[in-house]
Symmetry: C2
Subunit: 353 residues, 2 copies
């Protein structure tokens, strides 16, 4: 019976949700992409919608016909603490889910995306940031992952927030000039000509600062992670380089706090912030890590294991290879434009002074 089963594996990230259909052989079919499946990013309803959209796209792309899923596994920050799993399961049943819906930590899934070893360490830095020590295939210690407001040190939000802050301080006369200014104004659609006028104060400060502040407060705070790539883009700029170095230090400290001299094993790094390897090179004490883009492969591994499949090197290589190939052709739901949040967030401060 095991050879007949199909597992639905989902990685619910802070920016992107990925779903794939995996067989016991490790072969994967259909990769569907949707928006954030993390409730911290956009609320529970938006996260549930993303999970369903990604599943629909994966199912359509996999061309599984009327085949059912024996089980589904969702990798999610914090392993779904507070998440309306009953609601998700009810929505997945019409899409073919027959068995259990299991939720696993994004940190564990990322670890399992990089190695089959039972012990080791994982550091995830995407929209958020979390580190964990894995022992016997389970989380033994977790650090950070406390979200944009209280933690996620070194994450995409953390970097994007500092990018925005550095530009605001420059325009406010409290910080050094930085190449991030032009990049951020451009990303927000504020005309570059406004920057040339930055010297003309309106009520004691440049008018472009008020435009910037209004534009940034119109976003959900966690959306500041959109600006993390600007720091990498401007990495020859002193301000950007300092932000990236601070992020590397913060991530190294988070990782160090879960280290146990008695536990040895590989270090897996995952998430968009770590994907390029640039930040890993800046992190003290980090040598030869395994880089993975996200936790999707690990969600597939954990789903097969829960279904009783012995995931050996051959199965693992098939999962990894198939998902890498599928990423090149994956279908994504129509991205939603970034707009003012539906629940009308609070206005920004009154930058006119």
């Amino acid at each position: 019976m095991v050879t007949m089963c199909k597992i639905l594996a989902i990685d619910a990230g802070g920016t992107t949700t990925r779903a794939v259909v995996v067989e016991p052989s490790g072969h994967c079919h259909g990769l569907g992409l949707a928006s954030s499946g993390n409730p911290v990013s956009g609320g529970f309803d938006a996260a549930v919608t993303s999970l369903v959209s990604a599943t629909q796209l994966a199912r359509a792309a996999a061309d599984t016909g009327s085949d059912a899923f024996t089980a589904a596994v969702i990798a999610m920050a914090g392993a779904g603490h507070g998440f309306p799993l009953g609601q998700v399961r009810a929505l997945l049943v019409p899409l073919g889910l027959r068995g259990e819906l299991e939720v696993v930590s994004d940190a564990l899934a990322t670890f399992c995306a990089g190695t089959l070893r039972p012990d080791g360490y994982v550091l995830v830095a995407g929209t958020g940031a979390v580190a964990a020590r894995v022992e016997h295939g389970r989380l033994a210690a977790v650090s950070d992952g406390l979200g944009w407001l209280l933690g996620d040190a070194g994450s995409g939000y953390w970097i994007g927030h500092r990018v925005a802050g550095a530009v605001a301080r420059f325009l406010d006369g409290r910080g050094p000039q930085t190449a991030l200014t032009g990049l951020l104004l451009d990303a927000l659609g504020i005309p570059a000509t406004q920057l040339a006028l930055a010297e003309e104060p309106a009520r004691g400060r440049p008018a472009v600062l008020a435009q910037l502040v209004d534009a940034l407060y119109a976003l959900r705070p966690v959306e500041l992670s959109r600006f993390a790539p600007l720091a990498f883009q401007a990495r020859d700029d002193d301000v950007a380089r300092a932000i990236l170095a601070d992020a590397a230090s913060a991530l190294a400290a988070t990782l160090a706090s879960v280290r146990d001299p008695a536990v040895d094993g590989p270090l897996v790094l995952g998430g968009s912030v770590l994907a390029s390897g640039l930040l890993a090179a800046l992190m003290p004490g980090v040598a030869t890590p395994v880089l993975v883009p996200d936790g999707l492969v690990g969600a597939a591994v954990l789903g097969l294991r829960s279904a009783g499949v012995d995931v050996d090197d051959g199965v693992f290589q098939r999962i990894t290879g198939d998902i890498a190939a599928l990423r090149n052709t994956a279908r994504r739901e129509m991205p939603l434009p970034v707009t003012r949040a539906p629940e009308s967030p609070l206005p920004g401060p009154l930058a006119g002074g």
Copy 2:
């Protein structure tokens, strides 16, 4: 005619709104207090409601009967950028407003609450933080006041955010023990017995951390300013002392950025964070400042000036003395309990790991 006029003066702070009725002589009547009148704290509707509530209480306490207000002046962060002033005026007319509604910067009002001199400097640190240079009775340069997300360095939000972060890091195993932990858990109604259990990890981390994270994400971010007093309360604690020292440095830097060697004058410090004088003592380069609690006296001064009254030392002393006396007996609207924000904020991250 000037001697017959009455001015409604309002100071719309990030935590408290204050309204008072002032006569050309400087005599003040009726002080009404309400919740935040700053839209960044709770949205435009809540801010408008606070302005109206404070006015109603001031009018009732002043026992002005059917007397009308010749004009009203509201001191507000950013001088009301984006604020629905037409709506506010329409609501104040039934309460007696006959003339103009003027909005002035909270920074200028705070300056005018401390001195009649035309030139000088002001630093406000309440829920938010802003510094300004005043020349000829007008703002000549403004720094910070960029709100909780992008600035307000050294403000009540900034301090409260660091208090919450320090406690989260301690419970997460990434920061030193601090006396702030017990104080914060107590302020949030999390039983102290939970702290004793902090060593018992749930999925790799203490269960009390998940409770703390859930409680903090249930607040509006700017409400973290509620925890700033804990840093002052625990100021003998190393972590708390470092937070206060950093706040003092940040405020000193903001102030320094508006200094002009050619402009001399008094330095007025206002807002709850600076009220005790403790932070001012930690600020490099700050000597003999004038401390004022808020901008209400300044709003009254500016209101009288706009009405053509020559505010001399005698008038100023009467405003200052009367408002100080009224503060002891002021009526406040029933405070609203701090609850989950009405627009259902985003859930916190999933601290279970």
